[in-house]
Protein backbone atom coordinates (compact mmCIF):
# COMPACT_ATOMS: atom_id res chain seq x y z
CA UNK A 1 0.00 0.00 0.00
CA UNK A 2 1.08 3.57 -0.53
CA UNK A 3 -0.50 6.97 0.06
CA UNK A 4 -0.35 9.87 -2.36
CA UNK A 5 -0.06 13.33 -0.89
CA UNK A 6 -3.80 13.94 -1.40
CA UNK A 7 -4.65 10.90 0.70
CA UNK A 8 -5.41 8.55 -2.20
CA UNK A 9 -4.42 5.04 -1.16
CA UNK A 10 -2.88 2.69 -3.73
CA UNK A 11 -3.43 -0.97 -2.89
CA UNK A 12 -1.65 -3.89 -4.51
CA UNK A 13 -3.46 -7.18 -4.84
CA UNK A 14 -3.43 -10.47 -6.69
CA UNK A 15 -0.65 -11.80 -8.84
CA UNK A 16 0.89 -14.86 -7.33
CA UNK A 17 3.32 -15.63 -4.55
CA UNK A 18 4.70 -19.07 -3.90
CA UNK A 19 3.58 -21.63 -4.83
CA UNK A 20 2.50 -19.56 -7.79
CA UNK A 21 -1.13 -20.05 -6.99
CA UNK A 22 -3.83 -19.11 -6.70
CA UNK A 23 -2.98 -16.65 -9.45
CA UNK A 24 -5.30 -13.65 -9.46
CA UNK A 25 -5.21 -10.49 -11.59
CA UNK A 26 -2.14 -8.52 -10.42
CA UNK A 27 -3.88 -5.21 -9.92
CA UNK A 28 -3.08 -1.79 -8.55
CA UNK A 29 -6.22 -0.32 -7.00
CA UNK A 30 -6.78 3.30 -6.05
CA UNK A 31 -9.01 4.36 -3.17
CA UNK A 32 -9.67 8.09 -3.01
CA UNK A 33 -10.28 9.95 0.26
CA UNK A 34 -13.96 10.15 -0.71
CA UNK A 35 -14.14 6.37 -0.91
CA UNK A 36 -14.07 5.76 -4.67
CA UNK A 37 -12.32 2.55 -5.54
CA UNK A 38 -11.01 1.82 -9.02
CA UNK A 39 -8.58 -0.39 -10.86
CA UNK A 40 -5.69 1.96 -11.55
CA UNK A 41 -3.59 -0.54 -13.54
CA UNK A 42 -2.99 -4.23 -14.12
CA UNK A 43 0.56 -5.60 -14.05
CA UNK A 44 1.88 -8.92 -15.37
CA UNK A 45 3.92 -11.92 -14.20
CA UNK A 46 4.09 -12.40 -10.46
CA UNK A 47 2.68 -9.00 -9.84
CA UNK A 48 3.28 -5.86 -7.79
CA UNK A 49 4.84 -6.06 -4.32
CA UNK A 50 5.55 -2.50 -3.23
CA UNK A 51 4.16 0.92 -4.13
CA UNK A 52 5.01 4.47 -3.18
CA UNK A 53 4.01 7.92 -4.39
CA UNK A 54 6.55 10.56 -5.36
CA UNK A 55 6.00 13.85 -7.17
CA UNK A 56 3.13 12.90 -9.47
CA UNK A 57 4.04 9.25 -10.03
CA UNK A 58 3.45 6.01 -8.25
CA UNK A 59 6.48 3.75 -8.24
CA UNK A 60 5.91 0.00 -8.11
CA UNK A 61 8.26 -2.95 -7.66
CA UNK A 62 7.10 -6.18 -9.29
CA UNK A 63 8.14 -9.78 -9.11
CA UNK A 64 8.83 -11.12 -12.57
CA UNK A 65 9.74 -14.20 -14.51
CA UNK A 66 13.53 -14.27 -14.59
CA UNK A 67 13.72 -10.55 -13.85
CA UNK A 68 12.08 -8.37 -11.22
CA UNK A 69 11.30 -4.81 -12.25
CA UNK A 70 10.58 -1.29 -11.09
CA UNK A 71 7.90 0.61 -12.98
CA UNK A 72 6.25 3.96 -12.51
CA UNK A 73 2.87 5.34 -13.51
CA UNK A 74 1.98 8.95 -14.11
CA UNK A 75 -0.92 9.38 -11.68
CA UNK A 76 -2.80 11.73 -14.01
CA UNK A 77 -2.31 10.00 -17.37
CA UNK A 78 -1.69 6.43 -16.10
CA UNK A 79 1.22 6.22 -18.57
CA UNK A 80 3.49 3.32 -17.57
CA UNK A 81 7.29 3.33 -17.80
CA UNK A 82 9.60 0.42 -17.01
CA UNK A 83 12.49 2.04 -15.14
CA UNK A 84 14.51 -1.06 -14.29
CA UNK A 85 14.16 -4.65 -15.45
CA UNK A 86 17.50 -6.27 -14.69
CA UNK A 87 17.03 -7.65 -11.18
CA UNK A 88 17.67 -11.43 -10.96
CA UNK A 89 14.45 -13.13 -9.87
CA UNK A 90 12.69 -16.34 -10.95
CA UNK A 91 13.03 -17.90 -7.54
CA UNK A 92 11.91 -17.68 -3.99
CA UNK A 93 12.02 -14.13 -2.68
CA UNK A 94 10.53 -10.75 -3.35
CA UNK A 95 11.34 -7.20 -4.33
CA UNK A 96 11.35 -4.66 -1.48
CA UNK A 97 10.43 -0.98 -1.56
CA UNK A 98 10.54 1.30 -3.42
CA UNK A 99 10.88 4.15 -0.94
CA UNK A 100 12.19 7.69 -1.39
CA UNK A 101 14.76 9.19 0.95
CA UNK A 102 13.65 12.39 2.71
CA UNK A 103 17.33 13.37 2.68
CA UNK A 104 18.40 13.02 -0.96
CA UNK A 105 15.11 12.39 -2.83
CA UNK A 106 16.51 9.23 -4.43
CA UNK A 107 14.62 5.99 -4.95
CA UNK A 108 15.69 2.99 -2.83
CA UNK A 109 14.61 -0.56 -3.67
CA UNK A 110 15.71 -4.12 -2.98
CA UNK A 111 15.27 -7.75 -4.02
CA UNK A 112 15.56 -11.03 -2.15
CA UNK A 113 17.42 -14.24 -2.85
CA UNK A 114 16.58 -16.67 -5.64
CA UNK A 115 17.37 -19.72 -3.50
CA UNK A 116 15.87 -20.34 -0.10
CA UNK A 117 19.02 -21.17 1.87
CA UNK A 118 21.87 -20.35 -0.52
CA UNK A 119 21.57 -23.24 -2.97
CA UNK A 120 18.72 -23.94 -5.43
CA UNK A 121 17.13 -27.13 -4.08
CA UNK A 122 13.86 -29.00 -4.54
CA UNK A 123 12.77 -28.49 -0.92
CA UNK A 124 12.46 -24.79 -1.43
CA UNK A 125 11.96 -24.55 -5.15
CA UNK A 126 9.73 -27.31 -6.56
CA UNK A 127 7.61 -25.77 -9.30
CA UNK A 128 10.13 -23.04 -9.96
CA UNK A 129 12.67 -25.63 -11.07
CA UNK A 130 10.54 -26.39 -14.10
CA UNK A 131 9.57 -22.77 -14.73
CA UNK A 132 12.98 -21.23 -14.15
CA UNK A 133 15.67 -23.91 -14.52
CA UNK A 134 18.44 -21.34 -15.04
CA UNK A 135 17.56 -19.12 -12.07
CA UNK A 136 20.28 -18.73 -9.45
CA UNK A 137 21.71 -16.28 -6.94
CA UNK A 138 24.28 -13.71 -8.07
CA UNK A 139 26.70 -12.08 -5.58
CA UNK A 140 27.07 -8.33 -5.23
CA UNK A 141 30.82 -8.57 -4.73
CA UNK A 142 33.63 -10.78 -6.06
CA UNK A 143 33.74 -14.04 -4.13
CA UNK A 144 35.55 -17.38 -4.16
CA UNK A 145 33.58 -20.58 -3.61
CA UNK A 146 34.56 -23.32 -1.17
CA UNK A 147 33.30 -25.94 -3.63
CA UNK A 148 30.88 -27.40 -1.09
CA UNK A 149 27.96 -28.71 -3.09
CA UNK A 150 24.62 -29.99 -1.91
CA UNK A 151 23.33 -33.38 -3.00
CA UNK A 152 19.61 -33.73 -3.60
CA UNK A 153 17.16 -35.66 -5.70
CA UNK A 154 16.23 -34.20 -9.05
CA UNK A 155 12.45 -33.93 -9.20
CA UNK A 156 12.55 -33.07 -12.89
CA UNK A 157 13.81 -36.53 -13.82
CA UNK A 158 11.54 -39.55 -14.36
CA UNK A 159 13.65 -41.63 -11.97
CA UNK A 160 15.13 -40.67 -8.57
CA UNK A 161 18.46 -39.40 -9.88
CA UNK A 162 20.65 -37.57 -7.42
CA UNK A 163 22.28 -34.34 -8.45
CA UNK A 164 24.77 -31.84 -7.03
CA UNK A 165 24.21 -28.12 -6.89
CA UNK A 166 26.58 -25.36 -5.87
CA UNK A 167 25.99 -21.88 -4.49
CA UNK A 168 25.35 -19.15 -7.08
CA UNK A 169 24.61 -21.88 -9.65
CA UNK A 170 21.44 -23.12 -11.37
CA UNK A 171 19.94 -26.30 -9.95
CA UNK A 172 22.02 -29.33 -10.93
CA UNK A 173 25.22 -27.38 -11.55
CA UNK A 174 28.04 -28.10 -9.07
CA UNK A 175 30.66 -25.57 -8.00
CA UNK A 176 34.43 -26.14 -7.86
CA UNK A 177 36.72 -25.31 -4.95
CA UNK A 178 38.43 -21.99 -5.56
CA UNK A 179 36.01 -21.01 -8.32
CA UNK A 180 35.69 -17.25 -8.54
CA UNK A 181 32.32 -15.58 -9.10
CA UNK A 182 32.29 -11.97 -10.14
CA UNK A 183 30.06 -9.60 -8.23
CA UNK A 184 27.47 -7.77 -10.28
CA UNK A 185 25.53 -4.54 -9.90
CA UNK A 186 22.30 -6.44 -10.57
CA UNK A 187 22.78 -9.17 -8.00
CA UNK A 188 20.23 -11.10 -5.97
CA UNK A 189 19.86 -10.17 -2.26
CA UNK A 190 20.68 -6.56 -3.20
CA UNK A 191 19.57 -3.09 -2.17
CA UNK A 192 20.03 -0.20 -4.59
CA UNK A 193 19.33 3.47 -5.02
CA UNK A 194 18.78 5.37 -8.23
CA UNK A 195 17.46 8.65 -9.51
CA UNK A 196 13.65 8.73 -9.72
CA UNK A 197 13.80 7.94 -13.46
CA UNK A 198 15.82 4.78 -12.70
CA UNK A 199 19.11 6.17 -13.97
CA UNK A 200 22.48 5.96 -12.19
CA UNK A 201 21.66 2.85 -10.13
CA UNK A 202 24.05 2.12 -7.29
CA UNK A 203 24.34 -1.07 -5.23
CA UNK A 204 24.47 -0.24 -1.50
CA UNK A 205 24.17 -3.67 0.04
CA UNK A 206 23.88 -7.36 -0.69
CA UNK A 207 23.47 -10.53 1.36
CA UNK A 208 19.97 -9.45 2.44
CA UNK A 209 17.92 -12.62 2.20
CA UNK A 210 14.44 -11.17 1.85
CA UNK A 211 14.45 -7.37 2.27
CA UNK A 212 10.71 -6.99 1.77
CA UNK A 213 10.01 -3.97 3.98
CA UNK A 214 11.98 -0.72 3.58
CA UNK A 215 11.35 2.44 5.59
CA UNK A 216 13.08 5.77 6.16
CA UNK A 217 12.81 7.66 9.43
CA UNK A 218 12.73 11.45 9.63
CA UNK A 219 16.51 11.62 9.87
CA UNK A 220 16.92 9.82 6.55
CA UNK A 221 18.12 6.54 8.09
CA UNK A 222 17.02 3.51 6.05
CA UNK A 223 15.89 0.25 7.65
CA UNK A 224 15.06 -3.08 5.99
CA UNK A 225 13.10 -6.05 7.32
CA UNK A 226 14.54 -9.45 6.48
CA UNK A 227 13.42 -13.06 7.05
CA UNK A 228 15.37 -15.96 8.45
CA UNK A 229 16.97 -18.99 6.83
CA UNK A 230 14.85 -22.13 6.97
CA UNK A 231 15.36 -25.24 9.06
CA UNK A 232 14.56 -27.77 6.36
CA UNK A 233 15.88 -29.49 3.29
CA UNK A 234 19.39 -30.41 2.24
CA UNK A 235 20.96 -27.20 3.57
CA UNK A 236 18.98 -26.68 6.77
CA UNK A 237 19.88 -23.97 9.28
CA UNK A 238 18.41 -23.74 12.77
CA UNK A 239 17.74 -20.71 14.92
CA UNK A 240 18.24 -17.84 12.48
CA UNK A 241 16.27 -14.85 13.83
CA UNK A 242 14.16 -12.56 11.68
CA UNK A 243 15.69 -9.09 11.76
CA UNK A 244 15.68 -5.43 10.89
CA UNK A 245 18.86 -4.05 9.39
CA UNK A 246 20.14 -0.52 9.41
CA UNK A 247 21.35 0.18 5.87
CA UNK A 248 24.30 2.39 6.72
CA UNK A 249 25.31 3.12 3.12
CA UNK A 250 22.01 5.00 2.64
CA UNK A 251 23.59 7.92 4.51
CA UNK A 252 26.43 8.25 1.99
CA UNK A 253 26.26 10.48 -1.05
CA UNK A 254 25.03 9.10 -4.37
CA UNK A 255 27.81 7.44 -6.36
CA UNK A 256 30.27 7.21 -3.49
CA UNK A 257 29.86 3.51 -2.54
CA UNK A 258 32.93 1.68 -3.82
CA UNK A 259 32.08 -1.64 -2.18
CA UNK A 260 28.56 -2.66 -1.12
CA UNK A 261 28.03 -3.82 2.46
CA UNK A 262 27.42 -7.56 2.98
CA UNK A 263 24.66 -8.56 5.38
CA UNK A 264 25.42 -12.28 5.65
CA UNK A 265 23.40 -14.36 3.17
CA UNK A 266 24.01 -17.25 2.61
CA UNK A 267 26.64 -18.03 5.25
CA UNK A 268 25.76 -16.02 8.35
CA UNK A 269 22.85 -16.09 10.77
CA UNK A 270 21.46 -12.68 11.77
CA UNK A 271 22.96 -13.06 15.24
CA UNK A 272 26.42 -13.34 13.68
CA UNK A 273 26.80 -17.12 14.00
CA UNK A 274 28.24 -18.85 10.90
CA UNK A 275 25.66 -21.31 9.58
CA UNK A 276 28.03 -24.28 9.87
CA UNK A 277 28.37 -23.70 13.64
CA UNK A 278 27.03 -26.35 16.03
CA UNK A 279 24.33 -23.85 17.15
CA UNK A 280 22.82 -23.95 13.64
CA UNK A 281 22.61 -27.74 13.47
CA UNK A 282 19.05 -28.57 12.36
CA UNK A 283 16.67 -30.96 14.07
CA UNK A 284 15.44 -31.83 10.59
CA UNK A 285 17.32 -31.80 7.32
CA UNK A 286 21.03 -31.80 6.43
CA UNK A 287 23.34 -29.31 8.17
CA UNK A 288 24.88 -26.46 6.17
CA UNK A 289 28.48 -26.07 5.08
CA UNK A 290 30.41 -22.91 4.27
CA UNK A 291 29.84 -21.70 0.71
CA UNK A 292 31.94 -18.53 0.40
CA UNK A 293 35.67 -19.05 1.02
CA UNK A 294 36.48 -15.36 1.46
CA UNK A 295 33.40 -13.85 3.14
CA UNK A 296 33.27 -10.05 3.07
CA UNK A 297 33.20 -8.08 6.31
CA UNK A 298 29.79 -8.53 7.96
CA UNK A 299 27.66 -5.35 8.11
CA UNK A 300 25.73 -6.60 11.15
CA UNK A 301 24.50 -6.83 13.77
CA UNK A 302 20.87 -5.94 13.02
CA UNK A 303 19.14 -3.22 15.03
CA UNK A 304 16.39 -5.65 16.00
CA UNK A 305 16.10 -9.44 16.23
CA UNK A 306 12.74 -11.21 16.11
CA UNK A 307 11.71 -14.85 16.63
CA UNK A 308 12.56 -17.08 13.66
CA UNK A 309 9.83 -17.48 11.03
CA UNK A 310 7.82 -14.46 12.25
CA UNK A 311 8.07 -13.30 8.61
CA UNK A 312 8.38 -9.56 9.08
CA UNK A 313 6.96 -7.86 6.01
CA UNK A 314 6.22 -4.18 5.32
CA UNK A 315 6.72 -1.40 7.84
CA UNK A 316 6.33 2.33 8.43
CA UNK A 317 7.52 4.89 10.97
CA UNK A 318 4.96 6.81 13.03
CA UNK A 319 5.37 10.53 12.37
CA UNK A 320 2.51 11.81 14.44
CA UNK A 321 2.33 13.06 18.03
CA UNK A 322 -1.43 12.84 17.66
CA UNK A 323 -1.35 9.10 16.95
CA UNK A 324 1.58 8.58 19.27
CA UNK A 325 4.71 6.45 19.22
CA UNK A 326 6.48 9.02 17.04
CA UNK A 327 9.74 7.68 15.60
CA UNK A 328 8.82 4.06 16.31
CA UNK A 329 8.77 1.54 13.50
CA UNK A 330 5.50 -0.34 13.00
CA UNK A 331 6.18 -3.76 11.46
CA UNK A 332 3.66 -6.31 10.23
CA UNK A 333 4.51 -9.95 10.82
CA UNK A 334 2.93 -12.23 8.26
CA UNK A 335 3.49 -15.31 10.41
CA UNK A 336 5.25 -18.62 10.24
CA UNK A 337 4.94 -21.46 7.77
CA UNK A 338 5.75 -23.94 10.55
CA UNK A 339 5.66 -26.91 10.54
CA UNK A 340 6.72 -26.58 6.87
CA UNK A 341 9.82 -24.49 7.60
CA UNK A 342 10.55 -25.42 11.19
CA UNK A 343 10.21 -28.73 13.04
CA UNK A 344 9.80 -26.97 16.40
CA UNK A 345 6.46 -26.66 18.14
CA UNK A 346 7.59 -23.38 19.75
CA UNK A 347 7.64 -21.79 16.28
CA UNK A 348 4.04 -22.68 15.40
CA UNK A 349 2.53 -19.31 16.28
CA UNK A 350 5.42 -16.92 15.62
CA UNK A 351 4.34 -13.75 13.87
CA UNK A 352 0.67 -13.05 13.01
CA UNK A 353 0.90 -9.64 14.72
CA UNK A 354 1.95 -6.03 14.37
CA UNK A 355 4.86 -4.86 16.52
CA UNK A 356 6.30 -1.43 17.13
CA UNK A 357 10.06 -1.40 17.24
CA UNK A 358 12.36 1.16 18.80
CA UNK A 359 15.28 0.95 16.37
CA UNK A 360 17.53 2.93 18.72
CA UNK A 361 17.27 0.43 21.59
CA UNK A 362 16.44 -2.75 19.64
CA UNK A 363 13.34 -3.34 21.76
CA UNK A 364 9.74 -3.88 20.71
CA UNK A 365 6.20 -4.11 21.97
CA UNK A 366 3.23 -5.85 20.42
CA UNK A 367 0.84 -3.29 18.94
CA UNK A 368 -1.81 -5.71 17.72
CA UNK A 369 -2.30 -9.47 17.98
CA UNK A 370 -5.10 -11.98 18.41
CA UNK A 371 -6.18 -13.03 21.87
CA UNK A 372 -5.25 -16.55 20.86
CA UNK A 373 -1.83 -16.59 19.17
CA UNK A 374 -1.61 -17.48 15.50
CA UNK A 375 -3.83 -16.80 12.53
CA UNK A 376 -7.50 -16.18 13.25
CA UNK A 377 -8.63 -18.91 10.86
CA UNK A 378 -6.52 -21.51 12.67
CA UNK A 379 -8.51 -21.00 15.85
CA UNK A 380 -11.81 -19.76 14.37
CA UNK A 381 -11.44 -16.96 16.89
CA UNK A 382 -11.85 -13.93 14.65
CA UNK A 383 -9.18 -11.26 14.41
CA UNK A 384 -6.17 -10.78 12.17
CA UNK A 385 -4.92 -13.38 9.72
CA UNK A 386 -1.56 -12.65 8.06
CA UNK A 387 -0.85 -8.90 8.25
CA UNK A 388 1.38 -7.93 5.35
CA UNK A 389 1.53 -4.14 5.29
CA UNK A 390 0.88 -1.10 7.42
CA UNK A 391 0.94 2.57 6.55
CA UNK A 392 0.30 5.93 8.13
CA UNK A 393 -1.91 8.41 6.35
CA UNK A 394 0.04 11.50 5.15
CA UNK A 395 -1.58 13.54 7.91
CA UNK A 396 -0.07 11.03 10.35
CA UNK A 397 -3.22 10.50 12.35
CA UNK A 398 -4.67 7.37 10.84
CA UNK A 399 -3.09 4.02 10.58
CA UNK A 400 -4.15 1.24 8.26
CA UNK A 401 -3.00 -2.30 7.71
Amino acid sequence: MGFADDGTLYILEGGSTWPTRPALPPRILSLTPSGELDVFAVETLGGPRGVTYHEGYIYVTCKGGYLARVVRYDVKTKKREVLIEKIPSGGWHEPGGPVFSPKDGLMYFANGSVSQNGVCLPAGFTVDLAKHPEAHDIPGDDITLTGHNVTSRNPLMPFPFLTETGAFKPFGTPAKKGEKIKGELWCSTGLWRAKPDGSEPELLAWGLRNPYGLAFNDEGELYASDNCLEEKGERAIAGDPDRIWHIRNAMTSHGSVKKPDWYGFPDMRADGVPVWDEKCKPAKGKAAEQLIENPPEWAGPPVYLEKPHSAMTKMDFSRSDDFGYRGELFVTEWGTYAPLNSPHEKDLNNGFQVVRVDVKTGTSEVFMKNKQLGAASAHQSGGIERPVDCKFHPDGRDYIF
Binding site: L29, G35, L37, V39, D322, R397, Y399
Partner: protein
Protein backbone atom coordinates in the same frame (compact mmCIF):
# COMPACT_ATOMS: atom_id res chain seq x y z
CA UNK B 1 -14.61 -2.14 -11.38
CA UNK B 2 -14.21 -3.61 -7.89
CA UNK B 3 -16.99 -3.09 -5.38
CA UNK B 4 -16.41 -1.67 -1.94
CA UNK B 5 -18.79 -2.25 0.90
CA UNK B 6 -18.58 -0.93 4.40
CA UNK B 7 -19.48 -3.85 6.58
CA UNK B 8 -18.95 -2.87 10.18
CA UNK B 9 -17.19 -0.53 12.48
CA UNK B 10 -13.96 -1.41 14.23
CA UNK B 11 -12.48 0.34 17.18
CA UNK B 12 -9.02 1.80 17.28
CA UNK B 13 -7.31 3.14 20.33
CA UNK B 14 -5.68 6.53 19.91
CA UNK B 15 -4.19 9.02 22.30
CA UNK B 16 -5.43 12.56 22.61
CA UNK B 17 -3.12 15.53 23.06
CA UNK B 18 -2.95 14.90 26.78
CA UNK B 19 -1.77 11.36 26.12
CA UNK B 20 -5.03 9.82 27.33
CA UNK B 21 -6.31 6.85 25.34
CA UNK B 22 -9.64 7.36 23.61
CA UNK B 23 -11.71 5.10 21.39
CA UNK B 24 -12.69 6.16 17.92
CA UNK B 25 -14.66 4.35 15.28
CA UNK B 26 -13.30 3.57 11.86
CA UNK B 27 -15.03 1.96 8.90
CA UNK B 28 -13.83 -1.44 7.76
CA UNK B 29 -13.88 -1.82 4.00
CA UNK B 30 -14.16 -5.09 2.14
CA UNK B 31 -13.46 -5.25 -1.56
CA UNK B 32 -15.46 -7.35 -4.01
CA UNK B 33 -17.46 -9.29 -1.46
CA UNK B 34 -20.95 -8.03 -2.21
CA UNK B 35 -23.69 -10.54 -3.09
CA UNK B 36 -23.94 -9.66 -6.77
CA UNK B 37 -20.27 -10.23 -7.60
CA UNK B 38 -20.08 -13.27 -5.34
CA UNK B 39 -23.02 -14.90 -7.14
CA UNK B 40 -21.51 -14.16 -10.53
CA UNK B 41 -18.33 -15.87 -9.44
CA UNK B 42 -20.19 -18.86 -7.99
CA UNK B 43 -22.09 -19.29 -11.27
CA UNK B 44 -18.78 -19.54 -13.10
CA UNK B 45 -17.48 -21.96 -10.52
CA UNK B 46 -20.58 -24.13 -10.87
CA UNK B 47 -19.90 -24.44 -14.61
CA UNK B 48 -16.38 -25.60 -13.84
CA UNK B 49 -17.65 -28.12 -11.30
CA UNK B 50 -19.81 -29.60 -14.07
CA UNK B 51 -16.62 -30.04 -16.08
CA UNK B 52 -14.95 -31.69 -13.06
CA UNK B 53 -17.80 -34.17 -12.82
CA UNK B 54 -17.76 -34.81 -16.56
CA UNK B 55 -14.00 -35.47 -16.58
CA UNK B 56 -14.33 -37.77 -13.57
CA UNK B 57 -17.19 -39.73 -15.12
CA UNK B 58 -15.33 -40.08 -18.42
CA UNK B 59 -12.45 -41.65 -16.53
CA UNK B 60 -14.83 -44.00 -14.73
CA UNK B 61 -16.54 -45.16 -17.92
CA UNK B 62 -13.22 -46.09 -19.54
CA UNK B 63 -11.69 -47.74 -16.46
CA UNK B 64 -14.79 -49.91 -16.09
CA UNK B 65 -14.32 -51.10 -19.68
CA UNK B 66 -10.55 -51.53 -19.36
CA UNK B 67 -10.23 -53.44 -16.09
CA UNK B 68 -11.86 -56.71 -17.24
CA UNK B 69 -9.56 -56.89 -20.26
CA UNK B 70 -6.28 -56.75 -18.30
CA UNK B 71 -4.76 -60.21 -17.83
CA UNK B 72 -1.53 -59.63 -15.91
CA UNK B 73 -2.61 -60.12 -12.26
CA UNK B 74 -0.45 -57.44 -10.60
CA UNK B 75 -1.43 -54.79 -13.10
CA UNK B 76 -5.05 -55.83 -12.84
CA UNK B 77 -4.90 -55.56 -9.04
CA UNK B 78 -3.47 -52.04 -9.26
CA UNK B 79 -6.07 -50.89 -11.77
CA UNK B 80 -8.90 -52.39 -9.73
CA UNK B 81 -7.68 -50.36 -6.74
CA UNK B 82 -7.69 -47.21 -8.85
CA UNK B 83 -11.19 -48.06 -10.05
CA UNK B 84 -12.25 -48.42 -6.41
CA UNK B 85 -11.06 -44.91 -5.65
CA UNK B 86 -13.18 -43.45 -8.45
CA UNK B 87 -16.38 -43.89 -6.43
CA UNK B 88 -15.01 -41.64 -3.70
CA UNK B 89 -13.76 -39.15 -6.28
CA UNK B 90 -17.18 -38.95 -7.92
CA UNK B 91 -18.74 -38.42 -4.50
CA UNK B 92 -16.36 -35.53 -3.84
CA UNK B 93 -17.05 -34.07 -7.29
CA UNK B 94 -20.75 -34.00 -6.38
CA UNK B 95 -20.05 -32.55 -2.94
CA UNK B 96 -18.32 -29.60 -4.56
CA UNK B 97 -21.72 -28.36 -5.78
CA UNK B 98 -23.10 -28.50 -2.27
CA UNK B 99 -20.18 -26.44 -0.97
CA UNK B 100 -21.43 -23.54 -3.08
CA UNK B 101 -25.08 -24.29 -2.30
CA UNK B 102 -25.88 -25.81 -5.70
CA UNK B 103 -27.38 -29.18 -6.60
CA UNK B 104 -25.49 -31.66 -8.83
CA UNK B 105 -28.47 -33.99 -9.33
CA UNK B 106 -30.15 -31.78 -11.90
CA UNK B 107 -27.17 -32.02 -14.27
CA UNK B 108 -26.19 -35.67 -13.74
CA UNK B 109 -28.18 -37.21 -16.61
CA UNK B 110 -27.00 -34.59 -19.04
CA UNK B 111 -23.37 -35.02 -17.99
CA UNK B 112 -23.49 -38.79 -18.29
CA UNK B 113 -25.10 -38.67 -21.75
CA UNK B 114 -22.60 -36.12 -23.04
CA UNK B 115 -19.71 -38.04 -21.55
CA UNK B 116 -20.53 -41.37 -23.17
CA UNK B 117 -21.20 -39.95 -26.62
CA UNK B 118 -18.11 -37.73 -26.61
CA UNK B 119 -15.93 -40.52 -25.31
CA UNK B 120 -16.96 -42.94 -28.04
CA UNK B 121 -16.37 -40.29 -30.66
CA UNK B 122 -13.01 -39.25 -29.21
CA UNK B 123 -11.58 -42.62 -28.36
CA UNK B 124 -12.42 -44.14 -31.73
CA UNK B 125 -10.43 -41.35 -33.34
CA UNK B 126 -7.64 -41.78 -30.83
CA UNK B 127 -7.33 -45.51 -31.56
CA UNK B 128 -6.52 -44.71 -35.17
CA UNK B 129 -3.21 -43.29 -33.97
CA UNK B 130 -2.20 -46.33 -31.94
CA UNK B 131 -0.10 -47.89 -34.67
CA UNK B 132 0.99 -51.48 -34.13
CA UNK B 133 -0.53 -51.92 -30.71
CA UNK B 134 -2.77 -54.75 -29.65
CA UNK B 135 -4.58 -55.64 -26.47
CA UNK B 136 -5.78 -54.03 -23.31
CA UNK B 137 -2.90 -51.60 -22.83
CA UNK B 138 -4.56 -49.30 -25.33
CA UNK B 139 -7.17 -48.76 -22.64
CA UNK B 140 -4.33 -47.91 -20.26
CA UNK B 141 -3.07 -45.30 -22.69
CA UNK B 142 -6.52 -43.75 -22.78
CA UNK B 143 -6.74 -43.86 -19.00
CA UNK B 144 -3.47 -41.97 -18.80
CA UNK B 145 -4.98 -39.07 -20.72
CA UNK B 146 -8.35 -39.18 -18.98
CA UNK B 147 -6.84 -39.37 -15.49
CA UNK B 148 -4.66 -36.40 -16.39
CA UNK B 149 -7.71 -34.46 -17.51
CA UNK B 150 -9.70 -35.29 -14.37
CA UNK B 151 -6.69 -34.50 -12.17
CA UNK B 152 -6.31 -31.12 -13.85
CA UNK B 153 -10.02 -30.39 -13.47
CA UNK B 154 -9.92 -31.10 -9.72
CA UNK B 155 -6.70 -29.07 -9.42
CA UNK B 156 -8.38 -26.07 -11.03
CA UNK B 157 -11.30 -26.51 -8.62
CA UNK B 158 -8.76 -26.38 -5.81
CA UNK B 159 -7.44 -23.06 -7.14
CA UNK B 160 -10.98 -21.72 -7.32
CA UNK B 161 -11.45 -22.70 -3.69
CA UNK B 162 -8.28 -20.83 -2.77
CA UNK B 163 -9.30 -17.81 -4.83
CA UNK B 164 -12.77 -17.66 -3.27
CA UNK B 165 -11.51 -18.38 0.23
CA UNK B 166 -13.68 -21.52 0.58
CA UNK B 167 -11.32 -23.84 2.35
CA UNK B 168 -13.73 -26.80 2.27
CA UNK B 169 -13.26 -26.92 -1.53
CA UNK B 170 -9.49 -26.86 -1.11
CA UNK B 171 -9.53 -29.59 1.50
CA UNK B 172 -11.73 -31.90 -0.61
CA UNK B 173 -9.95 -31.40 -3.93
CA UNK B 174 -6.38 -31.49 -2.63
CA UNK B 175 -6.94 -35.07 -1.46
CA UNK B 176 -8.27 -36.09 -4.89
CA UNK B 177 -5.45 -34.36 -6.78
CA UNK B 178 -2.91 -36.10 -4.58
CA UNK B 179 -4.49 -39.53 -5.19
CA UNK B 180 -4.84 -38.94 -8.90
CA UNK B 181 -1.19 -37.90 -9.06
CA UNK B 182 -0.23 -41.27 -7.61
CA UNK B 183 -2.66 -43.00 -9.98
CA UNK B 184 -1.07 -41.18 -12.90
CA UNK B 185 2.36 -42.53 -11.98
CA UNK B 186 0.95 -46.04 -11.59
CA UNK B 187 -0.97 -46.00 -14.85
CA UNK B 188 2.06 -44.69 -16.71
CA UNK B 189 4.41 -47.26 -15.20
CA UNK B 190 2.11 -50.19 -15.96
CA UNK B 191 1.37 -48.88 -19.43
CA UNK B 192 5.10 -48.73 -20.09
CA UNK B 193 5.48 -52.31 -18.89
CA UNK B 194 2.75 -53.53 -21.21
CA UNK B 195 3.62 -51.49 -24.31
CA UNK B 196 6.78 -53.21 -25.64
CA UNK B 197 5.34 -56.69 -25.10
CA UNK B 198 2.26 -55.69 -27.01
CA UNK B 199 4.08 -53.83 -29.81
CA UNK B 200 7.02 -56.19 -30.36
CA UNK B 201 5.45 -59.57 -29.61
CA UNK B 202 1.79 -58.79 -30.37
CA UNK B 203 0.82 -60.31 -27.05
CA UNK B 204 -2.38 -59.31 -25.35
CA UNK B 205 -1.07 -58.62 -21.83
Amino acid sequence: MPMVIQVRYGKLQKKNKKGKKMKTENPVLLIELDDEIRNQQLNEVEKWFEHVLTAQMAFEVVIQKTTPKIQEPHIKEAIVKIEGATKEHQKIAKQLFQLINRNPDIVMDRILGTTVSKLEEGLLTFQDFMGGAVGSWQGMHQLLLLNQQAMGAFAVAEQLGLSLGIKEIVKATFKVVHEKTMHQLLIQEYMLEMAPISILYKQNV
